[in-house]
C-alpha cells in the first residue's frame, strides 16, 4: 500500500508542469557580474521592468548562504500591482518569490526586493549599466541592473518532457548516452524490490 501511495505521488508530480521563464532582463550568453554586496538591510529597486501575464513567481539574482526573508513589491505608476514574500533560509545564487498572477502583461513597472540583514553578506548579481538605468538602493545607483526572471507554469507536463529529460541525462558523462537513465531506473527497481521483500519478511 505504501508503494502504491508513493507511485501515486510520483504520478501526480509528473502531471504538473515545470516552471518556465516568461520574461527576463538577462542577456543570453552574458555571464553574471557581482554588482554590489551588503551586510545591512537594503531595498533594491529596478525600473523599466515588464511583468508578464500569468507570472506566479519572480526570481531575483541575490546570492547568500542562508538568505534572510525577502519581500518583493511590483509597482506601476506608484501603485502596487503584485507582491510576495519568501521566508529566510533560502540558499544559492538566486531567490524565487511567489506572487499572485496578473491577467495581463504590465510594462514599465518597478520591482523592489527588500530584506533585513544584520551580518550575513548578500551579493546582487546582474550586468553593469549606466547610473540612469541602474537598480538603486535608497536613491543610490548600484552600478548595474540586477537580473530578474518572471516565472510561470510551463505548457508541457513533466510526463510529456520525459524524452527530453532522458536525452539530457545522457550528456556530460563518462560514457554518454540515454542508457544511464535505464540503469538508474533498474537500480531504483532493485531497491524497491529488495526493500519490499525485506519489509514483508522481517516486519510481518
Amino acid at each position: 500500500m505504501g508503494l502504491a501511495l508513493l507511485s501515486l505521488a510520483i504520478g501526480l508530480a509528473m502531471l504538473r508542469a515545470p516552471m518556465s521563464v516568461a520574461g527576463t532582463n538577462k542577456v543570453a550568453g552574458q555571464p553574471e557580474e557581482l554588482l554590489t554586496g551588503t551586510s545591512r538591510s537594503a531595498s533594491y529597486c529596478q525600473a523599466h521592468e515588464t511583468l508578464p501575464r500569468g507570472s506566479t513567481a519572480i526570481r531575483i539574482w541575490l546570492d547568500a548562504i542562508y538568505g534572510p526573508r525577502v519581500s518583493v513589491l511590483v509597482t506601476s505608476d506608484g501603485r502596487m500591482i503584485a507582491s510576495g514574500q519568501r521566508g529566510a533560509g533560502w540558499t544559492g545564487g538566486s531567490v524565487t518569490v511567489p506572487v499572485r498572477p496578473l491577467s495581463q502583461t504590465v510594462s514599465g513597472v518597478v520591482v523592489c526586493a527588500s530584506f533585513r540583514l544584520r551580518d550575513e553578506t548578500i551579493v546582487v548579481q546582474g550586468n553593469t549599466a549606466p547610473a540612469a538605468s541602474s537598480a538603486y538602493d535608497g536613491g543610490e545607483a548600484i552600478g548595474g541592473r540586477m537580473w530578474i526572471e518572471y516565472l510561470k507554469p510551463g505548457e508541457l507536463s513533466w510526463a510529456s518532457l520525459i524524452p527530453t529529460v532522458v536525452r539530457h541525462m545522457g550528456f556530460g558523462r563518462a560514457a554518454a548516452g540515454s542508457w544511464v537513465v535505464f540503469l538508474a531506473l533498474a537500480l531504483v527497481a532493485c531497491i524497491a524490490i529488495l526493500t519490499a521483500r525485506l519489509v514483508s519478511r522481517e516486519l510481518p
Partner: protein, 483 residues
C-alpha cells in the same frame, strides 16, 4: 572481513547494506559530475596522491588544468549554485566536452586541492586505487569509478547502523530492520556516498565506532574490543578532521567501560584502555609529525578554531547554541529571521541537494513536519515506557550524547570562524551524518513505541516514508539538472 564473519551477519543486515550501495550508485548516476559539495577539490587531492604519492600543498581552487578544462566544458561554474541553470543539454555541448576530454594534455598531479588540502589522507589513498585503475580513461571515467568505490562505504554505514541497533535494542529484532533499512534509503547518505567525498568513509567509520561501543557496553571491555575501538578511532582520525569531534565522547566511553571492567577484572582493564588509546592516537601522532615536518599545521584547521574560541568564548558559546536551538532570552540573535533548528537542520535534512542549491518547494518541508512529529512522538513514548531500562543504561546513553555533542560543537566552532561574514557556513546536515547510527536507533525506537501490535506496521510505514523521500529527492535532482 572474511567469509566466516559475513556468514554470521543477519541476512537482513546484508540486504540493508546492499540497498545502501545500490542507492548510492543511483545517486552517483543522477548527480552530474562535480555537482556535489567540494567534489572537484577531493578529486584533485586523489589525483595528486595517486600520480605523485605526495599530499597537496595548496588550498587554492586552481587545481590541475586537466581538471579545470573538463569543469569548463561541463559549464561547472555556471551550473553550481545556480538552480535555474541546467547541466549541459545539447549535442553541441556534449561534442565540446568530448573534445576537451580528448585534447586536454595530461598533467601529473595537482598541488592545489582547495578545501580538501588540510584533510588527512586515508580516504584519498583508498580512492587512488580506482583512480589508477581508470588512469588510461578520461577525467570523467576516473570520477565515475571513484564514485562507485565511495558507494561501498554507504553499504558499510548501513551495515554498522543495523548492528548498532541490534546491540542497543537486542529484544526487538524486527526493529533492527526498520533502522538499518531507513538509513540505507536516506537520500543524503546516498548523495554524499555517491560522490567523491571523504564524508562517505567518515559516516561508515562513525557508525562502526557506535557499534563497537555498544557491543562493549553490552558484553564488557575485553582487550579485543578495546583494540577494535582504538583501531576504528585511528581510522576515523586519518579519514576526516571532523572525526575529532567524536573523540571526546569515545574517550569518555572507554573510561566508563574501563571503570566497569575494573570492578570485575581489576588492573587488566586499564591495560585494555591503554591499548585502545595507544592504537587510536598513534597514527595521529605520525600524521602530525609529517605535517609539522612539511610546514603545515599539525592538525589542520582545528588548532586555529580552538585559539579563536578561547578569545571570544562567551559569544562563541552563544553562537553555537543558536546554530542548533532558538536563542535564549537576553542574548543577541546571530541568525535574525532564521529558525536554525527548522530552516538549517530540518529543512536541510528533508531535501537540499547538489551544491546546496536544489531544495524541495517550501510546502514539502512543511508537510514533512507531520511524519517527523509522529516519529518524535513515538520515539518519546518508547523512551517513556522504557524509562527504567534507560536509567540502568544512563552511562552508555551519556557516552552517545557526548559523541553527538562533541561533533555539534566542532561544527559550531568551525562555522564561527567565518561568522559574521557568513552566518552558518558549516550549517549543513551532511556534517551531522556521522551520527546516523543514533538516527537509525531513534527510528527503530519509534517503531517500537507504536506497541507490539502496531510496531511492525509503523516500522514498515517509516521505511516507506524514507523510500518515498529518496525517490522524490532523486526526481527533484533530475528536474533541477536535466529538466
Amino acid at each position: 572481513m572474511n567469509v566466516g564473519i559475513l556468514r554470521r551477519l543477519p541476512r537482513a543486515a546484508l540486504t540493508c547494506a546492499l540497498v545502501a550501495c545500490l542507492n548510492a550508485a543511483c545517486w552517483s548516476i543522477v548527480t552530474p559530475p562535480f555537482q556535489v559539495p567540494d567534489e572537484p577539490d577531493h578529486f584533485a587531492y586523489v589525483k595528486q596522491l595517486a600520480e605523485t604519492g605526495r599530499l597537496p600543498s595548496s588550498d587554492s581552487e586552481q587545481t590541475s588544468s586537466e581538471e579545470l578544462d573538463v569543469l569548463r566544458a561541463l559549464h561547472y561554474g555556471r551550473v553550481r549554485q545556480q538552480p535555474q541553470t541546467r547541466a549541459i543539454a545539447t549535442r553541441a555541448e556534449q561534442d565540446e566536452l568530448e573534445r576537451a576530454l580528448a585534447s586536454t594534455p595530461r598533467v601529473v598531479g595537482s598541488a592545489a586541492a582547495g578545501v580538501a588540502q588540510p584533510q588527512p589522507p586515508l580516504y584519498y589513498a583508498l580512492e587512488a586505487i580506482p583512480y589508477r585503475l581508470a588512469q588510461s580513461g578520461t577525467v570523467l571515467d576516473r570520477l565515475a569509478l571513484m564514485r562507485l568505490v565511495s558507494c561501498l562505504f554507504a553499504g558499510i554505514t548501513a551495515l554498522f547502523v543495523f548492528l548498532f541497533i541490534r546491540e542497543t535494542l537486542p529484544g526487538t529484532p524486527w526493529a533492527w530492520t526498520v533502522g538499518g533499512l531507513s538509513i540505507a534509503l536516506a537520500p543524503l547518505l546516498g548523495l554524499m556516498s555517491g560522490a567523491v567525498n571523504p564524508d562517505a568513509l567518515l559516516f561508515a567509520v562513525s557508525a562502526a565506532v557506535f557499534f563497537c561501543l555498544a557491543r562493549a557496553f553490552r558484553r564488557g571491555l575485553s582487550p579485543r574490543r578495546a583494540a577494535a575501538i582504538g583501531a576504528i578511532t585511528a581510522i576515523g582520525l586519518v579519514t576526516k578532521l571532523n572525526f575529532i569531534g567524536l573523540v571526546p565522547g569515545i574517550v569518555l566511553g572507554l573510561l566508563v567501560l574501563t571503570i566497569r571492567a575494573a570492578r570485575a577484572s581489576g588492573r587488566s582493564a586499564f591495560a585494555a584502555l591503554a591499548l585502545a588509546l595507544g592504537i587510536a592516537f598513534s597514527p595521529v601522532m605520525l600524521y602530525a609529525a609529517i605535517n609539522a615536518l612539511s610546514g603545515h599545521a599539525p592538525l589542520g584547521i582545528v588548532p586555529a578554531g580552538a585559539s579563536q574560541s578561547l578569545h571570544h568564548a562567551l559569544a562563541e558559546i552563544d553562537y553555537i547554541w543558536q546554530l542548533y536551538l532558538p536563542r535564549l532570552p537576553g542574548t543577541v540573535g546571530d541568525f535574525p529571521g532564521l529558525s536554525s533548528t527548522r530552516q538549517i537542520w530540518f529543512d536541510g535534512y528533508v531535501g537540499l541537494y547538489g551544491w546546496l542549491d536544489t531544495p524541495f518547494p517550501g510546502w514539502v518541508d512543511g508537510l514533512a513536519l507531520i511524519p517527523a512529529a509522529a516519529i518524535a512522538l513515538l520515539c518519546g513514548r518508547a523512551l517513556f515506557l522504557g524509562r527504567s531500562a534507560l536509567r540502568s543504561r544512563a552511562a552508555e546513553l551519556a557516552v552517545y550524547a557526548a559523541i553527538c555533542l562533541g561533533l555539534m560543537v566542532l561544527i559550531g566552532i568551525t562555522s564561527y570562524r567565518s561568522f559574521p561574514a557568513r552566518s552558518a557556513e558549516y550549517g549543513q546536515v551532511r556534517y551531522l551524518l556521522p551520527l546516523v547510527a543514533v538516527l537509525g536507533a531513534a527510528l527503530a525506537l519509534a517503531a517500537r513505541g507504536a506497541g507490539r501490535r502496531w510496531g511492525p506496521a509503523a516500522g514498515a510505514l517509516i521505511v516507506v516514508v524514507f523510500l518515498g523521500q529518496d525517490v522524490l529527492s532523486q526526481l527533484q535532482v533530475v528536474a533541477r539538472y536535466y529538466g
